[in-house]
Every structure is written in C-alpha cells, then in structure tokens.
Symmetry: C3
Subunit: 426 residues, 3 copies
C-alpha cells in the first residue's frame, strides 16, 4: 500500500509534477508512424502527460509536435493548414514550423519583426521502428532514443500498435510486471482460445519472487516448481519509465529467435493511457497472418476501432460471458489484453493504493513503486536517471527458462536477457 | 426552509456523515430477491449510501454483500467468479465468503497465514418479503428486521418493486409525506387515467394538518371537510428512516382488508435514490392483473426498463403532453409516480431548502426534517433510535377515514393504523 | 494578454460578479418572439447570465420571465400550467403572474394572507423587433430599450435568429470585432461558396487599426490599401455590452440602403453563449429567399436544429473537409458563422488569455477588454454606464468605404455610421 501522498506522486503526470517531470526526461512513443502517413496531410490531435498537442508531417516529411493552441490568440491548430513546411492557423494565418518558429505572420504590418519573437511550444520528435517519438523535457536535454531490438529491426520483422486504456499509467504497468496474475486472470481450459499454454503457470500458482534493479529498471524473476530438481523462471524486465517486456509463453533453454512482445504504458493524462504493444521477430519476417494477429485491429490486441479505442470496455462489461467464465476460462472475457484492461480499469481511474493488502507475490510491484518515487524525487533534486542518457541499456529481452534448482537465475538467464546485436539482424 | 448547513446534514449520506450514520443503524432494502435468483449466479453491482458494493448468492444460497473492490489490489469483484461458497477475484484468485473472510489466497506461498488476516468489508444481509435487506452499521449492532405487514405475508399476497429516482432521498420522502399535493399534482378530470378518485381531495384543497411523533416516526394527519359535521382524515405514517405508507384512496370506516401500498426511499448516494414500492393484500392473494399493475415493468410504477430505470425522465420531460395538461389532468404527465418523479427531480438533485417559502400545509415536512436532524445529532452523541431495535414498531398502516367532527383523529383512526397480526394472515 | 484575474473578471457573468452586474444594467435579448407564439402556450426554459429561468406568455399576451423554481418548495415551473394570466406550479397549485406576484395559493388555509408576502423572482420584459428582451438588473433601474435600426423596422424589413455557441461570450465578441481575421478565416477561392467577395481583404491582409471610444462602445476602423491614393476602411461598431455590427462586404461611397447584419453575444453562463443575428433592410421588404437565407435554419447561419443548436460542431469537427481546405477555402469548413464558431470554440470554453501573443491587429480587442473591465469596476463603484440609459445611442451602423488617403475615417465615414431615422422608414 501507499500513502495517499505517495499515490498522488506516483500517478500524477502533468507539467510540474515530480513524476511528470521524470517522464519528460525520456523519449516517449507519441504516435504510430501510420497516423502521419504523408507530407502536408491532416494534422493529428493528441494528448500526452496532460498536455494538448497537435502533430503534423510537413512538406519535407519532418514531424512537428506542437502546442494544440496558436501562440497568437489560442485558436486550435488542429483546424490549421499544413502547407509549405509549416502549420498555418486558420484564424489569422500565423504559421509555425516543426520547431515552433513563427515563419509567417501575415496579419501584422510588414515592418515589424514581431514574428521573430513569437515561439510556439514545440517538442523534438524522431521516427524509429514505425513509431513517432517525442521528447517533452527541457530544451536541449534529450538523450538518445532507447535502442529496443524491435525498434531497430527492418519493418518486416517488427510490429507496433496501441490501444486506449481508461486508467492511470501506473496501474497498467503494475499489471504488466505482475507475473503472478497469469496463473489466474489469463488461465483457461486446454483447447479454449488460441495460442500455447504454459503448464507451469497452472501446476504452481504460488510463484516466489526475486527482484533486482538493473541499469534501466527492474528485473523481476518469478520462480515456479518445474520437473524434480528444476525451477521454471519467468523473468520480466521493467524498463524506465514505463516499458515492460513480456516473457515468452514457452520455456526456452537457449537464446531464442522466436518473436516476442513488449508494452509501453504512455500517460495521456492522470486518467487515461495509451497501451502500446511492440513485437520483434529477430530471425525472420512475420507472415501476413502473424502481422495481422499482432498489429491488426481485430487481432490479439483487438478489437479496436479506427481511432484505436477498444470495442470491449466497461460500457459493455468487456463482453463478459458468465457461461464461458464457468466452463472455459477464468474470466469469461475473451483475449488476454481485454482481461488485463478489465481488471485494471475496474479499480477506477486511479486505484486507491492506501486500501490495498499486498502479499509476497506483489514484490515486483512494491519495488517498481519505490524505484519510481525515488527517481522522481532524485530528479527534483537535480539528478537525471542514467537510463535517460543511454539508449544501449534498452537492448534487453525478458525470458522464460527452466533451470536446475542450484543455478541462480541471474546466471542461468543472463544470456536470454540480452537482445541480439542489432547489426547482426540487419 | 433550512440553513445550508442543516440542508447538508439532512441530505448527505456517505460514510461518516451524521445522516449517513443514522441510516446505517437500520436494515435497508438493498435488492429485490429476484435480482439474485440462483446460487452461484452472476454477481450484482449496487451502490448504497455512497458505497460501491457487490452482491452475490453463494452455493449455499446465502447472500453476500461486499466491498466492490478486492481487498488485495482493488480489482472490481463484479467480474469475479461466484463459485463454491465464495466470490473469487479474477485478478489473482483471492476468494471471499459472504462474511468477507478470505477463504483462499492461491497466489501466495502455502506457508503463510496471510489470508487469515485479510478481510473484505462485508455487510450482513437477510431476505424477507421478496427483498434482500442489508445492515451497513457497526459490526454487531444490528437489530431485528422491521416487521412490515407486507414483508410477513405469503408471496401471493405481497409485491415489491423499485425504480431509480434522480434526486436526493429527502426530497423524495417529502413528496411521500405531503398530503397536500394530491389535490393538485395528481388531480384529474373524472374518467381520465385509471383507478378511483377521492372526492374530498377535490372538494377541499386546503387540508389542515395535525402531526405527532410515533414510536417509529411520524403520524401526519391531514383533515379535509367532508359531509356536514364530518371530517375526512388522511393519515400518513412516516417510519424511520425513510418509509412512507400511502393511505388508501377510498375512505374506510373500519379496519380494511383491501390491498395497500408503501414506499421506501433508499439513498444510493446524495444525488440518486431507489424508490421502492411495496404492497400488502392482507386478506387474499393478488390476481395476476393486480400483481402486474403493482409490480410489473409497465404497471402503475412503470414504465421501467430491465434495470428498473424509468423510461419517462427529465430527458424526455416525463412525456408531458400540454394538451392533456389543458384538458385531462393537472400535469399532462401520465401516472402518479411519474408525476411525483417529475416535480421531485425538477428541483435539482438536492433542492436548495434555504430558498423555500413553507406554509401550513408543509407541517409534516417541517416535522420530518426536525426529527431526522435531531436523531442524527443524537446518534452522533451516542443515542441509537429505539426504532432501530424494535421490528414490531413497523406493524402499522396508514389510513383514510371519515369521522364525526367531534372525534379526535388519534382516537377515531387508532384501529386502522395497526397492521393485522401477522400470524392471523398466514 | 490578460492576467488570470482580469480574465476571470472579463468572462464571469453570474450573479454578483462585476461583469455579470454590468450585463444586468442592460436590456438583453432573451428569446425570439417566435418561441412564445401564443397566450397560454407551453412555458419555455432558458438560462441567462448563469440563472435558470422560465418564460411564459400569459392569457393577456404579456411575457413573464421568472425564476425556474417555484417560490414554495422549488419545483420546476417549466412543468407548470400556463393559465388565466399566470403560471401555476403543478406541485401544490401556487400561481404567479408575470411580475412574480403569488396570485393564488390554494393549498393554504383561506384565512391566511401568506400569498401576499410571497414573491417569485421576475424580470421585466419587452418585445421589440421580433425579440423578447429582459432586464435582470436591480428593480426599477431599467432604462429604455436600445433603438437598433433593425428593431424599429416593420417585420418585413428585419430578421432575427440565434444559435448556440459553446464558449464564453467574450471570445465570441472578440471574433466579431476582429477585422483582421476576415482576410484569412473567411477567405476563399473566387467562385466558391456564395455571396460577394471583397477584393481588398485579399490584396491587403495587414490592416492598420484606428480604435476610438464612442458613446455606446467602440468604433474600430481597419485600413487597407485600395487604389492608388486611396484607403479601404472597414469600420466595425462595438456596442455595449455585447453587440457587434458587421460592415457590409462591398465598399459604398454613400449612405447605403442595402440590408446589413449585426450580432449580439448573450451569455448563457460562463461557458455558453447565444449568438444572435439581426438584420435590417432599411429600404425595402426582404424577399422570401433573402429571409430564408438570413433567418432560416438552413440559411447562412445554419444548419441549426429546432432548438437552434448547430449541427456542425466540435463533435464532427465542423464538417471540415481537408480537400476543400486545400483547394477551395482557407478552412475547409463551409459557412462564415461555422468558421467563426470553429476557431472560437477551439480555444476551449474560456480561452486562457495569459498565454496570448497579441499584435497590432488586435488593437480593437485590447480596447474592448479595457473598456469592459473599466466599466465593470466603475459600476462596482456606483457608476452606471451612460449607454444603459440612452436607447438612441444604438442608432448606428457599421460601414465599409473607400476614401482618399488624406480624408480621416472619422470624417469620411461619419454619415455611413448613423442609422436612418427610424420614422422615415416606417
């Protein structure tokens, strides 16, 4: 449990909040590249960390991410004209480039240099791995992009998609790093739903946790009994400030080349979150069907509508089917991400952590909260997290592995937790 | 009129408020029994006195009424599995029985006794008269159920139903004890609408009120002129904390065996209320048509939808028909309960009682407010109302009677105001 | 830009606010006369300056404008019976005349004189020019109605209509007095949309402003280059407290007899506004088509629904068509009023004026704010604005005129800025 004060600090992300400032020191997934497909196309509205923004791809293909409101009289720039390397407000024609410079001010007398003194808030952007990234921190403080394996693979070997979630980012992350719930929330009868099942999740539902800090976050290892003399380890990486990497479902004895998935839980504001899903196929291109399953609007992460809003939501009780709950799976809800959203949103927009009763299986969550609060306070005292300055720290994977009981997980899983060198895959 | 401070005290029902605490000393109608028809059926969400709750009927048929959120990490228990005498959270499988005990905690190590130390808020329940009752007061302080005549009759001789009302409980009660408005709000031209009309309500629209406290609330007698030398008395019982009994429309000279109705106005929160309607037929089973008229979704209290929400509401101006208002009835709205809801909701969710101008005809209302405020303050000082401890005080009826002018109503109506002994009707 | 404190003062209109009190010293357009077509018709709900009201036309044709809630127990008078020169509450039959006097109190004993002591808040009304006007200031302080030319013409020579706008009144006014934006927001390719285009708006998009106070508000003159040695002047009148007169699109060398339009931006509350549009045809009756174009629900000001709500709104991005924006007009939105609503509403309900960057072309707006804040403060100190006492100050027009460069606009446009004597047109 957390005090209400700590809960506020953990969950509030607006400008000037400690956690909001911490987020602003990292590059953030802002949009799918597919949302800004062409130069001079329609601007896109978005909201990140409680700020209303507009994105546009200019004539030269650069992506601008600017204040949603014109610097002049605050008209909405979403209605603006995206033309000739700038976004022009339709109210009085003021025009801004991707860096927020006012490049035209046709309503003012020719002789003034007023336009040179007007700036629109603009955040640096970058495109990598099919994602538009944004940096909302103090000017000039941005470090390198995180070097996720998926973000460096060719387009045929990666996917990225997103879905709106109606709760605070932290309770979404806490679902992502919670190795315990998979024995329950996602459990199902053999032969129901699609995809492989992991027998250890059912045979041992009392995992023992070992949690340690890594250079970029946390390594959360959940130990379950496997064959005699062996443990099954499920090792989840949490990466600053909001990434989780999903361990593969199967158990692997050596460095895997199979596709795997990860998430980012990007705060829209204190009450809503974009749930990003990424995947990497290190060894080979995805088949069309794999791609549709991972990234399509009716795939694994779906169903979602054109705006990436989930069709199953609290409004329709996530499609819960009580007969199915009785006979086929634990929840009666179809699809792992829908099951996750149901429980995470069911807590309310911001769960009251002062009323929790945490157990041993929540150790990863406890460590996550401590880490985030500590880093937020440290930043307020002037200390920038190392991970914000080093993209290479993100060259990691999560892992599932069966090890002899006497082998420590940090030894036995070490190789699996590193991403393949990017160069070799290119 | 009330000061704003007293108005707040009268209307606020959340945990820790004086009026909320007073309500918590009484058994409350929580659900219709028909909403929890079978063991291990789907849980039901409800909100009472500002608290979010989940009800379930367990394998043994017992009804649990518990906190809407799991004691572990606050996932919504509505999505839970109702199985083997407990409600199991789908997030990590923690399971709670109807008394809130954690009876299974499968995500934690076998060797802990943590589950024995975890409790979920749970309120005692009881089933009587087709109603699930709840007691939300301090543990162990519950008294007997109120012994309403309708609640002790065989199922064939009683009905119970409910409807959502979008205003505070107190302005609903104030409609229920207001004998004056029936000469206006519910008046209509002979031959319009259904049901009998009472001629005295039209011939004398200036009732004179006599209000006295009873052991369980108030007796509110409204006197109208009848035949020479006679008065028509309409005597309404208000019973703590929110019950009203409707006097029969006709005038009766002796203890009646005819069906009659009553209400409970149960606070969902400060802004919404369940309007319960009960009826008793002391002498004989209801016909199918009588039952449909009283309890059906398109009967007297309807139309309501499957969730007991009214189809006529502020959204459609309660179906007001200005032509009908001009020619047929006083409001142009069809159905007494819809007329009541229209005026009560039209005041806003919580009427500003500091702006009222009360008259003689509001004496019942003035006494009701004084009584409730006095009892709420007394409870805060440690004094529990007698009625919370004595179910027998609810063995009463309201009455309509014509008496010679010289007969005091407390004498002349005394017999009518008592319910028939329950045993005799069984 | 404004400080947040000044922004609050400028935009807040409820009872007791400085700007709200200033508005209350002027007659306000409250309803279209067509909304109260017949004696004893259905009452009409409205909200003005943050107050909920009900209007009704009584048996004698007088218009009452009263508190939305009965003086007795605050039931909504909208459901009331409009009969025999008064509005009768359906709860207990209390009846009020257009002046708020309680003229019948049938639920109270005959012998009381209670009804003589009960008053319902009622505001004086007047009908002129197809508009129901209301005065919400202190009792007895009302001055004459403003003598707008359109309000004094025969019905065949005037129109009046309205439309809901979802933003504060001040940012709507600021659009109305902003001569600069027409070169951008409303610009379009020749031959697109309907109506004439003014060539000077396109040839010179850097107007130079001259702003002066008039007896009833501001005269805002925007100068653009015309033929050699000439200026094109667009002179907009702002009239207290919220009127704007639209200069004709064409340029006129002498007093015009052509139809022209004006607006009132009447605050519903701090976040919504009725945008009124008036027009006057000084010389001749409108044709049916002209009337439909000006006043019809699908005309120039439309489309609006039966309740005067716009069908193009933020919900559908005002029907923006990006192809049309690229090729046909500046916005991709059809219709000048829809273009105005889009930018004004896009700022949010109340624009944050502390974040603006104003330029030379905003001089009219700066003066408007200063004037309104000064007058609001002066009223708080006891000084009532002169314009509230003199209807004749409203006998003015706006103007468009081309003048030799050496002729000052105050001289050259003087004749155009006066309305024709009302008598002559009748």
């Amino acid at each position: 449990m957390l005090s209400r004060k700590d809960n506020d600090m953990l969950t509030q992300v607006g400008p000037g909040t400690p956690m909001g400032e911490l987020f602003r020191r990292f590059w953030l997934p802002a949009l799918l590249e597919e949302e800004l497909p062409e130069p001079d196309g329609a601007p896109v509205r978005l909201r990140l960390l409680g700020e209303d923004l507009v994105a546009f791809r200019d004539t030269s293909g650069r992506v601008g991410l600017v204040d949603a409101y014109c610097a002049h009289r605050r008209a909405g720039l979403y209605y603006g004209r995206n033309e000739e390397n700038g976004l022009r407000c339709v109210y009085h024609g003021w025009k801004f480039d991707v860096e927020g410079r006012c490049v035209d001010m046709p309503s003012e007398p020719h002789e003034t240099n007023y336009k040179d003194r007007v700036r629109l808030t603009a955040y640096p952007t970058a495109i990598r791995g099919g994602v538009v990234w944004a940096y909302m921190g103090p000017k000039g403080t941005e470090g390198p992009l995180p070097e996720f394996e998926w973000s460096e693979l060719p387009a045929a070997q990666r996917t990225a998609t997103k879905r709106l979630q109606r709760c605070n980012w932290a309770q979404a992350v806490e679902g992502g790093i919670d190795s315990s719930h998979i024995s329950f929330l996602h459990s199902r009868r053999e032969g129901t739903d699609s995809g492989p099942r992991n027998p250890y999740h059912q045979s041992d539902r009392h995992p023992v946790f070992e949690v340690s800090e890594s250079e970029a976050g946390l390594v959360i290892a959940a130990r379950r009994n496997a064959e005699p003399g062996h443990y099954y380890w499920r090792v989840t990486q949490f990466l600053l400030p909001f990434y989780t990497m999903i361990p593969p479902v199967g158990a692997f004895k050596e460095s895997s080349r199979e596709p795997y998935d990860g998430h980012a839980w990007v705060p829209i504001d204190d009450h809503t979150t974009w749930t990003w899903s990424f995947s990497a196929s290190p060894a080979r291109p995805y088949s069309d069907q794999e791609r549709e399953t991972r990234g399509g609007r009716n795939g694994f992460w779906g169903p979602v509508d054109e705006a990436y809003l989930p069709l199953l939501s609290a409004d329709n009780d996530y499609g819960i089917d009580r007969e199915k709950q009785r006979h086929d799976n634990f929840t009666g809800i179809t699809g792992i991400p829908n099951q996750d959203a149901a429980v995470q949103e069911s807590m309310g927009a911001v769960v009251d952590r002062s009323k929790e009763n945490l157990g041993h299986s929540d150790r990863g969550i406890v460590n996550f909260r401590r880490l985030m609060l500590r880093l937020a306070k440290a930043l307020a005292a002037g200390e920038v997290p190392e991970a914000a300055r080093r993209g290479d720290l993100y060259r990691v994977r999560s892992a599932s592995v069966v090890l002899p009981a006497e082998v420590p997980v940090e030894t036995g899983a070490a190789g699996l937790l590193k991403a393949a060198p990017a160069a070799a895959d290119r």
